[in-house]
Symmetry: C2
Subunit: 762 residues, 2 copies
């Protein structure tokens, strides 16, 4: 890999000029763009609606709705290995394992108008261009690349709702900007439901794109302005049939026709350009209307000041990153740390116009009253560490996220909080109902200022959605039966944890009956523990465990993204209860030891989703989420030193500052949030419990500035690459013996001091 | 035909009880439902958004976007000859020659759930039912039919935005209401763009249907409530592929799943019913949102009072019909007269919610300020007599229609007034830009109270839309060249007339330059008159008339819905100029005489669109519009008696009170408006000229109550079936010698007295 800039940064300290660097200089958006990280390298502000990034491949147009490896690779549109860029689109998931978005793809070109993207093998057949990482630069809110075929330099930056492009063209009477409204990520046949473009004048167009993808239907409205008037423009429809075509043909709809509408449409804007002439373009998005997209543009980017927009975004990033001032062992770690903060500040995204309007789950336009509305909730992933991370460094934003979830609930005809929602749709991906965890953690940490009783009601309603993936039988039988769901065990374990969250909220709000009911449900994990084999195991409606069962296999065994070996540890709310059930301290510690040290045979690894071979340690799969709390469990077996050892091993083994620096999908910031907590020395094992469990910090020191004005300073005395063990830890001078730390204590401000050692404290 | 009720009405006078009848009793909505009339028999209030009517056939689902005879027959969804009813849908065009709408089709059934409609030949294979006209009743705002297969009595009524259904079921544990969201008129493959249904509770659902048909895309939002809770409901998707189906399957989306979305979807609501149990249903529509549809329902039909809703609509009709009190020669004529008023009060339809919101041509939600927004403007037809009729009896409504057109213009990225627009789309059907005529007539008659300068600007902008069907070359060459349009002559003649309208407005507003420019253009009809053959004829760009040319052929000769014989007379704004060009009075009268008396060979008739054999007199085609003014032209040849003779002949020949009572498409009221003016004895030969030309009244007497409180009384002394000639005519006692009547005189109120005679006054 050629991450030239970052090598330079790594060298800078030796040149004695490190102190001039900004935090944004440590962020490398290319980390995670190789293999399974599924991050994107493009430009965005923190949690921006527009995340403007190059797409290096699109799915072949004859793809027939089957979920393939190819689809999977391009969840974020970009793979570091690729040699061509198709274009720049304005919406991207960061780190997901399923795909959608990639809306409003544009590409500057030169020469003959080509509306077909061409293929990676034969870019000359289309508008795509070869490029080289040597001529590519990615940093917070800025992306630059030379498009070799077209001899065009493309630069991208954004405000929250507007992408700004700056294209430096060669001299040409045939310069173009291609607008491919058929392009998109997961672009199966008929993904496009409908598209519209209205050309308002010689430099302004508006439109929308409505799709049927992972979101059942989703409409992205846009407004586009170019800094230079186009001399000509054209469109082509790709519809299979056009009803009453005769009337449509009253106009020549191919050239300079401003009132375009079809299922599938591509456009070109044509320019004369001088050598080195810069043409700028603004693309504003809205979830509501073209009118709002224009208003977003006029409000956020009233002029053509590319540097100004870029710098405003960089300042926003400096502010976001600056909430934690970390000192690491080396510059490479600085890059990892701040890129993790960066990756944990991309999603969810703002889903609301500057005027406060957004489209709800009920397809209606709503006004967000007293909160910013967000979308793209990858909750099965993010409830674990990402949302707790937000509750620490970004609590008012997380409160808005909870408000957004409550709005979703209010608009839900199912009476449910989101499962995995994006763009006013729920795609019902993964297991559990983990909004409940996010809501509970925010209430129990005092972060959500809304109506807690209403929030509890929403949680209960979600937990009682009997028709959803086995919930009814879970309530009736005490577990999700094998027959009801392909992930009956995952669901049972996760429902039980979520139910415990509900019980905690009920307790806080003094609802004893609810607390009792959900405390009872929170124990249902016990019903699927098969003590004969010592693992969680699917059980049928008759109460019989499944006969043929493989504890190493990830597929078809009643789990999702995890095998029984990993998943059997998923009782974050009652690890001591689990330890007891599993045979007590010693057997439990032995189980953990085996997990980390055994060899997972290749045939099982090959079935493991979403991770590289580097994404596992023994049979411990860090690239997927269910085990994210597991390394911390040694704290209750009397061997905290093993937690310290393992978390340091994981952070060193699973994260690096190359393009392949993430061992699995970043999953909307969850992998990065795990890194951040762990680097600071503590982790939220069970969100909803307002305590953190201690591990082994990676920072030398760090200061977290809290929203309440206080700060938390983490100091790791005697920190070093080999000094992974904690010989002593104090909070404000007082020794912590139980390796736990209360969120409330942190909120009061103070110092968390670790004394590191090369030797474990056994 | 079995129009039992109407035979009875016809007999009533002889029983001496005629005086008890209401005007609505004279309306027979079944007139025009056979053959080419393309009217619908269902329930509606005047200009109602919901026009709820039975559909007797749907287009086969494998229809591949080709415009066929079958599509054509079902423009209004209903053909009198048919033996089965597919269901009841909520939107219908009245009298058009192209099709769309038929939204939200519902059908009450009994027995096994069937989601397939079945075929007319084998209704037992689907949900459709045989029916008999013996058990059918149609009257203003009420439709009733017995569904024989299901043994269900269906009754329909409406308010402006709500359809109310009353179904009387037999005893059954298997009673259903089918909701077929894939059904529609002109239902080609993939007509459905997207559909959504949300089941809010056990008796309420909301949703929308977005289509791609004659309107490029069009979304109809709805809300449905049933008077009785459904015990169960279900849905079926018919999509070719469902992306990420795995997640969709987390719910059983077939039974009782409330959050439905797909391209193609059908539903069933299930009930237990007792013998004779009535289940009522309300279906409210909105152009804007489901929320607005619910609000429309709650506002217009807050309860379940079917009779109340029906009676309110009947009262609205009594008021609408009562604007003219006519006394006819016989009861059959009474039916024809009031059914014509009825048919001239169906379209355009209100396109706005009770809260004033509507969706604009720009896809944005607008608030109608100071006017009611209307849609479905069949302008090539309706500018001739329908809008002038509105200016006489319904001027404030026509002012709102002009305001709606101006809103369309303001929202148009083409800078054009509507051509043929419906549901926030322009379908660009037919020739000319006749909004201009409607706007001009409303301004010149003092009816439009908005900004006349802005309206003139909109007219000029439309007339200068160079890219639209030859307008650019028309401006440059003085005619639309043959190469530029398949209807180059029609367009030239109609543009010239429209330009004259613009000149009249410019004159009134004192814009001499505009007046001069458009007066010049209004003479461009002269450029296509070929004096060698005495007909209008296509001319190429080089200025040469087309070599091979057939003056009798309707197709491929440069005209649309008319041959050169008929169309050559289309210079309504300068008939004297035309007469001169055509060789003077005598030759011109000879031309007219030939038109009415020649025989149009079968081979030409067969190519004639939209009309039955009865729709022509000689070669005069009344079933299409271009000749609607022609019979009045004898007034300038010195033979008004021939006008009198011909208009009486046409009114007797082309209109009757059977299901086949219209000789051609009613065309959104144009055919009926011709009848009404002619029956009153005067006709607007050239809208934009605020004068009427006199003919031969059919009424014995009639009183038109004007909006300004004055009234116009028409008296035909000595009226009789054979007394078709006018021996004398006076306005307020003063003899009219030029057979012209000023609109302004009518507005002042008074008496128009014809003295009828069996003998022509030569």
């Amino acid at each position: 890999m050629r991450l030239g800039k970052f090598l330079l940064i790594a060298l800078l300290p030796s040149l004695g000029i490190a102190q001039q660097k900004k935090l944004t200089d440590y962020v490398n958006p290319l980390i995670g763009t190789a293999k399974m990280g599924h991050t994107f390298p493009g430009a965005t502000v923190p949690f921006g609606s527009v995340q403007l990034s190059p797409d290096t491949d699109t799915i072949p147009y004859d793809f027939n709705g089957k979920y393939t490896k190819t689809v999977y690779e391009y969840c974020a549109g970009y793979q570091y290995k690729d040699k061509t860029i198709v274009g720049f689109s304005h919406t991207h998931f960061s780190g997901t394992g399923h795909s959608d978005l990639g809306d409003i793809l544009v590409m500057p070109t030169q020469g003959k108008v080509q509306l077909n993207p061409g293929t990676a093998d034969r870019p000359q057949d289309g508008y795509r261009s070869p490029f080289s990482h040597d001529h590519e630069e990615a940093s917070p809110n800025y992306y630059k690349v030379k498009l070799d075929k077209h001899n065009i330099l493309a630069e991208l930056t954004t405000s929250t709702r507007v992408g700004m492009h700056r294209y430096t063209f060669p001299q040409s009477a045939d310069s173009h900007i291609i607008l491919d409204l058929t392009a998109g990520i997961y672009n199966h046949n008929d993904k496009n439901v409908w598209t519209v473009v209205r050309v308002l004048n010689d430099s302004t167009l508006t439109g929308f794109r409505q799709t049927n993808g992972w979101a059942r239907t989703r409409t992205v409205y846009f407004a586009i302005k170019t800094s230079k008037a186009f001399k000509n423009y054209g469109a082509k429809y790709y519809d299979k049939e056009i009803p009453y075509k005769g009337f449509w043909r009253k106009f020549n709809q191919t050239d300079n026709f401003p009132d375009l509408a079809a299922h599938n449409m591509k456009m070109h804007l044509d320019f004369d350009t001088k050598e080195g002439e810069q043409v700028l373009m603004k693309v504003a998005l809205s979830p509501v209307s073209m009118r709002n997209a224009l208003e977003n543009m006029e409000t956020e980017t009233p002029d053509w000041n590319f540097e100004g927009v870029k710098n405003a975004g960089v300042q926003a990033w400096e502010k976001e990153l600056g909430k934690i001032k970390a000192v690491m062992l080396n510059e490479a770690d600085m890059v990892n740390f701040y890129t993790s903060v960066y990756h944990a500040s991309l999603m969810p995204t703002v889903y609301m116009d500057v005027n406060g309007e957004y489209k709800g789950l009920d397809y209606e336009i709503h006004q967000a009253k007293g909160f910013t509305n967000y979308t793209s909730f990858s909750l099965w992933d993010t409830f674990r560490a990402f949302h707790p991370w937000m509750n620490l460094v970004n609590p008012s934003r997380n409160a808005d996220i909870v408000s957004s979830m409550m709005a979703h609930y209010d608009q839900s005809v199912l009476g449910m909080l989101p499962i995995w929602s994006h763009y006013a749709n729920d795609n019902w991906c993964m297991s559990g109902y983990h909004s409940v965890s996010v809501v509970a953690d925010a209430i129990l940490k005092g972060i959500y200022k809304g109506d807690a009783d209403a929030a509890l009601k929403a949680c209960i309603s979600t937990a009682n959605a009997r028709r959803y993936e086995g919930i009814g039988e879970y309530i009736d039988l005490g577990y999700v039966p094998d027959e009801a769901s392909t992930s009956s065990v995952s669901n049972t374990l996760e429902y039980a944890y979520d139910d415990w969250c509900i019980a905690q909220v009920a307790k806080k709000l003094g609802k004893a009956d609810v607390e009792a009911e959900f405390t009872k449900r929170s124990n249902y994990w016990r019903n699927l523990y098969d003590e004969k084999i010592g693992f969680m195991r699917p059980k049928d409606r008759a109460g019989k465990f499944r006969a043929t069962f493989d504890v190493l296999d990830t597929h078809g065994q009643g789990f999702i993204e995890g095998n029984s070996w990993n998943y059997s540890l998923y009782v974050p709310h009652d690890p001591k209860g689990l330890m007891e059930v599993m045979g007590g301290t010693k057997r439990f510690e032995g189980y953990l030891d085996s997990l980390f040290s055994m060899h997972l045979p290749d045939k099982y690894f090959e079935q493991t989703e979403d991770i590289t071979r580097e994404g596992i340690i023994g049979n411990y799969v860090h690239g997927n989420e269910p085990s994210h709390h597991v390394a911390y469990l040694y704290n209750i077996t009397g061997s905290p030193w093993k937690t310290q050892e393992r978390v340091r091993q994981i952070i060193r083994h699973q994260y690096n500052n190359g393009a392949d620096g993430l061992g699995g999908n970043d999953d909307c910031g969850q992998m990065s949030a795990w890194y951040l907590f762990t680097a600071l020395g503590f982790y939220p094992v069970a969100p909803g419990d307002a305590h953190y469990w201690l591990g082994s910090p990676l920072v030398k020191s760090a200061t977290v500035t809290l929203e309440n004005g206080k700060s938390v300073k983490v100091i790791a005395k005697n920190q070093g690459e080999k000094n992974v063990y904690v010989s002593k830890v104090t909070w404000n001078g007082k020794e912590i013996k139980d390796y736990k730390l209360a969120h409330a204590d942190l909120m009061a401000g103070g110092e968390l001091e670790f004394v590191m050692s090369r030797k474990p404290k056994k």
